[in-house]
């Protein structure tokens, strides 16, 4: 049995194929971001012109034929509307053409579920960190089976915060790995550290770091920014781990590519004697494989989407998704 999944929530158009939890293909094409950021309609055009090619590449990578595809899944949200709609359209067309079921997937569940699957940890807490998101979650049975958000950012996502800093510091390319490189051998400067229970905020830290650029070495500012932001996430995760009583920690999402964040969370987990797993980078970046994998879980678990469930949703919250198929 093989399920083909399509991801198109932001700059990546990705197509993956999952067969009994084995990832047979994970093809993608990424829109090149300039200093102007992303203009959703432009990115959507890019996805539309690449859709067919990426689907074909995934099929040939996997070695299966179209007739072996038993279901199609796609990202319903959260993400940019115009981009999501291209993936949805491609998925709908394929499902019609092949007369196979169609499954709308929550993007965050994609990242978390594939990491949980690969980790082998039973019922871990999930630290999901990306550009727009920074959340600490776990599965709960309260009311219905769903991901409960134990804690999250109260303002901006940690990824966007670091990117903003990188732009203010005129780093090129303006993203996390450049900040990490500059931060090597930095020295600590005191910065605002804001954890409220299991929630945290980043704007105060960002403002302070940008201001400090004029009076301190950029390496010291970058180092202090990273240590503070990641420390806050680790401390909130520690609280969530202890309060939920769960016995494992998984890390996923774009910012999970940070080596330093992995180290800090691994040390936190170790200090409580629980397992830690960080997803491989190919699944932390946006990808189709995770959507295919969750589509397969839904297909096997007897998910029955209703007509209205197929619409894309830019703000599709993870904690509203009923996991009865899991």
């Amino acid at each position: 049995m093989a399920v083909l999944g399509i991801e198109s929530s932001a700059h990546t158009f990705g197509v993956g194929i999952s067969d009994n939890g084995r990832i047979l293909a994970n093809a993608k094409e990424m829109y090149k971001i300039t200093d102007k950021g992303m203009i959703p309609s432009r990115v959507a055009e890019f996805h539309a012109s690449n859709a067919k090619g990426v689907i074909q590449r995934a099929l040939s990578e996997s070695g299966i034929s179209l007739s072996e595809v038993e279901a199609i899944s796609y990202t319903k949200g959260p993400g940019l509307g115009p981009c999501l709609r291209i993936g949805q359209l491609a998925a709908m067309t394929m499902s019609e053409m092949l007369s196979v079921p169609l499954y709308p997937v929550n993007h965050a569940i994609g990242h978390i579920q594939i990491a949980a699957h690969l980790s082998g940890l039973k019922d871990p807490i999930a630290v999901y960190v990306s550009g727009g998101n920074s959340q600490i979650l776990g599965i709960t049975e309260q009311g219905f089976r769903h991901y409960s958000v134990y804690g999250e950012t109260l303002d901006i996502g940690v990824g966007n915060m670091i990117d903003n800093f990188a732009r203010a510091a005129k780093l090129n390319p303006a993203w996390g790995s450049t900040v990490a490189k500059v931060a090597e051998n930095g020295h600590y400067i005191r910065m605002p550290y804001t954890v409220k229970g299991m929630d945290f905020t980043f704007t105060g830290l960002l403002t302070n770091a940008v201001k400090s650029l004029s009076s301190h070495k950029i390496g010291d500012v970058a180092y202090s920014l990273q240590e503070t932001a990641f420390g806050m996430i680790a401390e909130a995760s520690e609280r969530a781990l202890l309060l939920s009583g769960k016995k494992g920690v998984i890390l996923c999402g774009g910012v999970a590519q940070s080596k330093r964040l992995r180290e800090i969370l691994a040390a936190m987990s170790k200090s409580h004697g629980v397992g830690f797993y960080a997803a491989p980078n190919e699944y932390n970046a946006d990808n189709g494989a995770m959507i295919a994998y969750v589509g397969e879980l839904m297909h096997k678990g007897g998910a029955k989407p209703k007509r209205g469930d197929y619409a894309v949703e830019q703000r599709y919250r993870i904690d509203g998704v009923d996991l009865k198929w899991l």
Binding site: K196, E238, S271, R317, D319
Partner: protein
Amino acid sequence: MALKKISEGAEADIYELELLGIKAVMKYRRPKPYLVKEIEEYLRDTRTRTEARILSKVSSLISAPKPLLVTRYAIIMQKLEGIQASKNPSLGKPGAEASGKALAALHSSGIIHGDFTTANILVGRSGISVIDFGLSYYSSSAEDMAFDILLFKRSVSKEDFRAFEEAYGNGFAKSCEVLKKLSEIETRGRYQNRSLETA
């Protein structure tokens, strides 16, 4: 001084002891080996000191543990009787009202609790007590106050919250502004359908 560990919190361990014949608890902030030394020491040290200062203030306002002895990373405080409200099926109307009154008294003095859930409310024979001021700080911001209420709201039933809200409103002059801020925060979207589990 015989120490008996009675609980492990997210950042501190609680021990039971007797100090000069008084039943006391010691809250010891554990090291956080995953943080850089500077942040770790700063957090443990300032949080211990802030908590001690706030405890001595609040224990004169409401029923809360009085600090007896403070060291760099530990506070020895008076032990209060009661069971955590999170362990009851519901706080109940009288408990919720008393909690509203207590929080109103804290906010009137510019003190934010910082982790105002039912796990930090003890229900005893002579009423409720508020414990764990580990995340408390001084602030006059309506938003900070609204977060205390938000945490409480997430951990109780609708009925209990109504009783709480009324008592809070009667006990604190600026309550209207805070409750308005609360509904604003709730419509920011990040806070919808959120359930908080307590251990």
